[in-house]
Amino acid sequence: MMRSILAGLTEFALTLVVVAAVILAVLVPVALSQPDAGEVLRLFLLGPFGTMRHVGNILELATPTMLTGLAATLIFRAGSFNLGIEGSFFVGGIAATAAALLLPLTGFIAAPTAIIVGALFGSLACMVPGYLKVRFGASEMVNSLVLNFAFLYAGVFILNYFLRDPNAGALMSYRLPADFGLDRIMQGTRLHTGVIVAFAACIIGGIWLYGTRGGLNLRIVGLGPGFAQHLGLNTSALIMRAQIAGGLIAGMAGAIEVLGLYNRFSWVALPGHGWTGITVAILARENPFLVIPAALFLAYLQVGGDMLARNLAVPSEVVGLVTAAIMLAVTATAIFRHPAFLRLIRDIKGEEQAA
């Protein structure tokens, strides 16, 4: 028991080492380019913990990506490459906006209703490519990639023609009624109740994946399709359901983001949280429980980058580069499946030699 914990920690340690290496590879040159290199490192690595406001920023930035990360986790666990999470997130946002502006609701049912509307409409961006795959065999990856943009323009159309506030400066919706907004829970930050939903969703997702029959079946379909077939599982139904669930969660994420942070809807481009969610899912090794720390970690990097940007005029896009590099490095099978590393793990576990 001790041995397998140690072995698991070894893999985790290697992940940490790889991530740290990537960060330093980018950070050190940046630091050296500045007069005070130490200040750069201090700001980036420790700054985000400096004040409550920054910690709140981390949580606030991690809220949408915890949810999109969970969505991506479910989809990838099914072995599917449906990339419509980005589109689902956007549609979720605009649908929730429409619900807030058009539904005459007040009180505590207002926001949840709008969120549910957001989730339902948002799931279309994943469901359509998923359905086309199951029914016709068309690639859900290519279709979802392209449909993201179709949904974007559809959403902008609805914004422009039905929800637009003519008195506002740029293209944005009317003010969202206060009843639909999500409550702020930390003074001095924009942190809202959505973060609780995000935490809860990830934990529920983890319990479902590891503690229910449905979750076990999904894991079998993704990890061992041959075995799934031999068991007689209905693999295509399971894969479809995972994509629908992913779309619903991503749509919910978009709705929560809009209702929690903004009082008007103003997205005219794909916000990018879907792609970040994919990175989170990869970093979390497709484990819903680990989505929480993975999303927090990436948010922490983002906040660090923003602090560098604000105080030292180092552009925050550096973080985007680092994130992409981390995503690649963490999936490098040459590192994590290297015979030497695998032997180390086997030795720690003290495993019997293969019979």
Binding site: R219, L223, G224, G226, H230, G232, A355
Partner: protein, 509 residues
């Protein structure tokens, strides 16, 4: 006057794979230039591995390969090609969407400036085909050709670079008798024109028809190498099969138990001969164990696949316990009482990345003892799996460990524990004790016997003839997708007696 130096010689060649499997332990023999040399042996004897080493697709763990008397170290396919060695693979190495010419010139294309000299390529291929009398349509895509025609292309590809030694791996597996005749006459012509031919086969009548010399491999070692004129079929069979082992047999039950499983005239299509069945008719009664013998690739995979709903029949019917199962899905078979121990433990029998616990309860949907609505009852599952582990003597550090942390034998016991848990009515066991320790194997044998006594029909597919003879009430032998023998397991049935059927020498349906 024979050439003293063999064109190829193996000197104590050994090969152990990274996962520990020993494919070859001591192969030493020489091949005379200008002869047709056959390599014979059961599956797992090491024949294919040896050829892959010669052709450069694998490298030996020990020992030397010698070409024309000189030792060669790293051999790659390109090196082999440049030194006149060509190989016709058992599973063709052709790219299906490319044409015949493209496949043959791949890697050494004649050029004209920046482009391929298409005309010269075509002319060269046609000349090559004419020279060896293997006519093929040069511009046809491989995927449109018949298997026999594809093999001709594969042979031409092997001959396309000044070949001196041609290796063929089970070349007649995919051919019909007239096609085999044509192939043999071509091979004899090639030998007469100076080529050396090396071919692997488990079909003794073909070996005798074609070869001058035969080398028998068994369990990774050379048993003997001798000219075919000096050895009889019976002796070869004995060398291939090994010594008879005195086995105790299962007590046969009365023959009037009800028929549970019935296959009538079942045939399947499919590119791979391992999947192909031709006119199989078979019945299995309750409390009966039917053993399936046959060299690998004789149709066992197809038989297992149709009985588990994984492959469709092209003709024939299957019925089980009175119900028509001709078009049944895997889920339907399982509901009807199928338990299946598949040949590929870690890709079909379980998921290596998941834990023992999870593997042990996979598929048993809706059992209220371990499930509360959708939720898996951890405690109940834990005790049940621990009981399974105890009962089946699975050695493990903990049931939370991954399946691939178990040795093969223990993993198989766990899979058996899962499959046998639900009082199955039909047990399909495919190589159930391959590669596992004697104690585990004996344990599983007891379990299989118990399942049969519980009233189930059991189909036991195995390459281990000792196991077969110990457990089965009846033995059927598959060859080329047909049942060539259906024999009661009496004491005079020995591996040597089965040999001729397995090797295609006899039929006694």
């Amino acid at each position: 006057m024979e050439d003293a130096i063999p064109i190829v010689a193996f000197d104590k060649v050994a090969k152990t794979y990274p996962n520990g499997t020993v494919a070859l332990s001591d192969a030493s023999f020489g091949i005379r230039k200008g002869s047709i040399h056959a390599i014979c042996g059961e599956n797992g004897a090491g024949k294919s591995t040896l050829m892959k080493i010669l052709f450069g697709l694998e490298s030996p763990s020990a020992g030397q390969v010698m070409l024309d008397g000189a030792a060669v170290n790293t051999v790659t396919p390109d090196f082999a090609g440049r030194h006149g060695i060509g190989m016709v693979h058992q599973h063709f190495s052709l790219v299906p969407s490319l044409t015949v010419v493209e496949n043959i010139i791949l890697g050494h294309e004649p050029k004209r400036g920046v482009l391929i000299d298409a005309r010269r390529a075509r002319d060269e291929v046609i000349a090559l085909a004419r020279r060896y009398e293997l006519d093929v349509p040069p511009d046809a895509r491989i995927e449109t050709l018949s298997i026999a025609a594809q093999q001709k292309v594969e042979i031409l590809k092997a001959l396309s670079r000044e070949t001196r030694l041609l290796i063929l791996d089970e070349p007649t597996a995919v051919l019909s008798p007239p096609e085999i005749e044509e192939l043999f006459s071509r091979l004899r012509d090639l030998r007469d024109s100076g080529l050396t031919i090396l071919f692997i086969s488990h079909k003794l009548h073909e070996v005798r028809a074609l070869a001058d010399t035969v080398t028998v491999l068994r369990a990774g070692q050379v048993v003997d190498t001798c000219p075919l004129a000096e050895v009889s079929d019976a002796e070869i069979t004995r060398m291939v099969m090994g010594r008879d082992v005195d086995v105790s047999r299962r007590q046969r039950q009365a023959a009037n138990a009800p028929v549970l499983l019935e296959l009538k005239n079942v045939s399947t299509a499919g590119n791979d001969p391992a999947d192909r069945l031709t006119d199989i008719s078979l019945t299995i009664r309750a409390d009966e164990i039917v053993g399936v013998a046959g060299v690998d690739g004789s149709g066992q995979r197809g038989l297992a696949a149709v009985l588990s709903g994984l492959m469709a029949l092209s003709t024939g019917t299957i019925s089980f316990a009175g119900t028509d199962m001709t078009r049944a899905s895997t889920a339907q078979w399982r509901r009807a009482g199928l338990a299946y121990l598949p040949a590929d433990r870690f890709t079909q029998g379980g998921t290596p990345a998941l834990s023992l616990m999870e593997n042990a309860i996979a598929g048993t949907d809706g059992d209220p003892a371990i499930q509360w609505g959708p939720f898996l009852r951890r405690g109940a599952i834990r005790s049940r799996v621990q009981a399974m582990v105890r009962e089946f003597a699975v050695r493990t550090r903990g049931i939370g460990e991954r399946l691939d942390s178990l040795s093969g034998g223990n993993a198989q016991k766990l899979i058996a524990a899962r499959e046998l848990a639900g009082a199955p009515k039909l047990l399909l066991a495919d190589q159930p004790t391959r590669g596992i320790d004697v104690a585990s194997a004996a344990f599983l044998h007891g379990r299989i016997d118990a399942v049969a006594r519980g009233g189930a029909a059991v189909l036991l597919i195995t390459a281990d003839l000792d196991e077969l003879l110990r457990l089965a009430d009846r033995v059927i032998v598959l060859f080329n997708g047909r049942i060539v023998a259906d024999l009661p397991n009496k004491t005079d049935l020995t591996p040597a007696a089965l040999g001729p059927y397995m090797l295609g020498l006899e039929t006694a349906a």
